[in-house]
Amino acid sequence: MSFINPWGLISFISIPILIVLYILKQQHSEHVVSSTYLWKKTEMFMQASTPWQKLRKNLLFFLQLLMLLFLSLAISRPVILSEALDEDFIVIIDTSASMRAEDVSPNRFEYSKKEILRLVNGLLPGQKMSLIEAGNTVTLLVSRSDNKQVLREALEKLECGYSDANIDGAYSLADSIIKESNTSKVILYSDKDYEDSGNLSIVNVAKSRENVAITQATAAYVDDSYTVMSTVVNYGSDKSVTLELYVDDRLVDAKTVLCEKEKPVHTYWRNISQEAGFVKIKITEKDVLPIDNEAYAVLSKNERQKILLVSEESYFIEKVLQAIGNFDIYKTTKDKAESQKGFDLYIYDGFVPSSFQNDGNVWVINPTRSFLGLSLGDLIKGSALDSVETFSGKALSTYIDAANIYLARFWAVTSHNDWEVAMKCGELPAIVTRTTESSQQFIALLFNISETNLPLLKEFPVLVQNMLTYTMPSLLDGDVKFVSGEHIEIRALPNAQKVEVTSPKNVKTTVAPPFPPRGYEATVPGLYHIRQEVRRGEDNIKVNEGYFTVSIPGNESALLSKGHSLDIGESTNQKVKGAIELWPYLLLLVIFIGMTEWWVYYRGNQL
């Protein structure tokens, strides 16, 4: 047993004080009697008739002594530690979306916080606790502190997230703390099925997995209208649920579907107006995790983007763009190219204009001369491409294997100031990118597509799509989905003046200026609105609007998803259940003894 408030032991001084008071109180009024012979017999008679009578006055004293003893103990706040919690320890709290489940009151996260608060209150003097938040990112909230106020405040400020939990990262952090200090205990509050191992103790706060979730909501533009599909998964026992469809926040339909355990149910709604901006699908029945009962799908605007293609020989590019679709492609010749304006994307193939328009992004394929700081040498023999670990390199090589692409010839670059290499051939750049101060983006392919094997490869349309994604602001185009906690790169349109994002909770965040826009961290699931003001001409400001959706990770809806095996530190097979404070029990005992003392006193006076 240990004491949280050892200073309270000073109150034990009241016990000798009581004894002294009792001794002083033992004054009797003295009377001389002829003989105590009969009184002795009376005393014996009293003891015979009420055996405890002799002890009665002493009994009162002992009861009062016990009351003081227990009261002093209660003031000292004794705790019983269930096995080795008298050392420093680390608490990891899972802040993933599933911790919002309300199968325990008020929810798993708040329940865990309460439990941790009990641990904080039970900290012994000098005992230190570290607090780690395991959410999308791992945060060391408090490092080895014995300051209960600091720990309480950190807990109070802590909020549950909407993403999954990086438990591994939290473990790595805990492991490093263990190595640096004498801490050897780690307690994880989570709802995942991890197993105790080594110095790790798991407090699983999950009780139920009765949850129905909308795991997917998508919209496709088919025959001049949209078709919306939702996927519902029931992780609990079989039940029917009602799905409501809202178009631009207006309820338009409701369907009841039978959901068998863990079998995805797909539901379709057709002929949704092409004028609509978004749809919302909602499960009306309540379950333990409400946040996955709604899902949004963004309907892309009917505004098609315009591409100017200046080429005389790039048959391949044109075909791929047509295959991808959703664009208005305009073709022109080199001599008319310089006067064309008002396009979202300018593609110059085998031609470099004397000046570039600044209202759209630019692709230059097979440049014939140096431009914008990109100095070209001679055409040299090429080989296989190799992607580069730059931002644009990663963006353009998504889903493709650059090593499959062979170049017959390419332009040897002598200098490429301000240009970022996305792919290279040997040691020389083959594909480069550039973003100007006015957010205008350039991609330069330093080879003739017809002198490569690209048209024969499946990588070709993928590469073109990647290039479109990179240079066309994808957030305003199409069904854009993100998972909570994901870092969203927002690209400003060329000549954008202001970029603003409004969250589902109606919080507006200006992500630009300054340009380029900083990334956006979308956490709350729901529909986000993005708004860009783009200068078109001297006084013409065009507003581009769109939506993107954020949902919780799919595995969070499963509620009892299996965690993987965790191991940390040396295995000692120790269990931690926490400290039990004894003062409430001691106070109850004091009250009981007080009542007994009163009863004995009252009964004694009656006799």
């Binding site: 004054q27 009797h28 001389v32 002829s34 003989s35 012979y37 009184w39 009376t42």
Partner: protein
């Protein structure tokens, strides 16, 4: 002192009182009480045949004329009774309002006076830790009056050791006698053994058990320390109505035990309170008991 023990009026009442014992006495001294032996009084008792050695002067010639046998005429003998008054002079007797000791001394004097009035001898002993002769063998009123002063001067002190002291009485085995014990019996000493001892020596016993009103009906309350007047003993008690009730039950049991014992042994018992008058004790309780007439 004699004036304080008795007033003249009561002395005159005592003149008319005498002590009575149910058994005849057997004493070496000639006195005023009928003896079991035949003596030389004029009171005829019986006849018996003459045997050689008898006083021929006592032959009844009338009977010889009638029966032609010598018959001796027998007459009653009168013997003197020795009344021993054992006065408990322990410190516990000097207690109470009115004082138990004072009444005890008056009673002792009264019994002695009645005894010598019946031509008996009376002795008064003080009994506490040791036994002392206050006045021994009082015969005649002059001797009595002299002894009153000594009796009045007897102090009350020490503990009461009745049995141990009674064993010290000398010549108790010489013939029958009477013992009057005046005590509060608030002692660990075995008064029953004392009585048995006296009975063994053919003593007729009157036991005067005297208690004060404070002892019969104590008025204490709350936490008290009761100091024993005879020694250093004390009792710390929380006096409640229940405690007083228990005391009275203890006292009743104690007195009943004495009465029961005395009844079994043929001992006259006078249980009195010190606030009773001497007249009411002797003429009331003593008379009704048949020991005083």
């Amino acid at each position: 002192m004699s004036g304080t023990l008795f007033d003249e009026g009561f002395m005159s009442k005592l003149e008319n009182m005498s002590l009575h014992f149910k058994n005849a006495v057997n004493s070496v001294y000639t006195g005023g009480r009928r003896s079991k032996s035949h003596g030389s009084t004029v009171e005829f008792s019986d006849f018996r045949e003459y045997t050689p050695g008898d006083d021929y002067r006592r032959i009844d010639w009338n009977a010889y004329a009638r029966f032609e046998k010598f018959f001796i005429k027998l007459y009653l003998d009168e013997k003197q009774l020795h009344t021993r008054i054992l006065l408990d002079t322990s410190k516990s007797m000097d207690f109470g309002e009115p004082n138990k000791g004072f009444l005890a001394k008056r009673l002792a004097a009264a019994f002695a006076y009645m005894a010598i009035g019946s031509l008996d001898r009376a002795s008064i002993y003080s009994v506490s830790e040791h036994m002392e002769h206050v006045c021994s063998g009082i015969e005649g009123r002059n001797a009595f009056y002299k002894s009153l002063e000594r009796l009045a001067a007897v102090p009350f002190k020490g503990e009461s050791r009745l049995f141990e002291c009674v064993k010290d009485i000398r010549n108790i085995y010489r013939g029958d006698g009477a013992a009057i014990i005046i005590s509060d019996l608030l002692t660990d000493s075995d008064y029953k053994a004392m009585i048995d001892y006296l009975l063994y020596y053919k003593q007729q016993i009157i036991l005067v058990h005297i208690l004060s009103p404070d002892e019969l009906n104590p008025q204490y309350s709350g936490r008290v320390r009761l100091l024993d007047s005879e020694g250093n003993d004390y009792r710390d008690l929380d006096i409640t109505p229940r405690t007083l009730d228990l005391y009275k039950r203890t006292l009743r049991s104690f007195m009943d035990d004495i009465a029961s014992f005395c009844a079994k042994r043929g001992v006259y018992l006078l249980q009195i309170s010190s606030d009773e008058s001497l007249e009411s004790i002797l003429l009331g309780k003593g008379h009704s008991l048949g020991i005083i007439s």
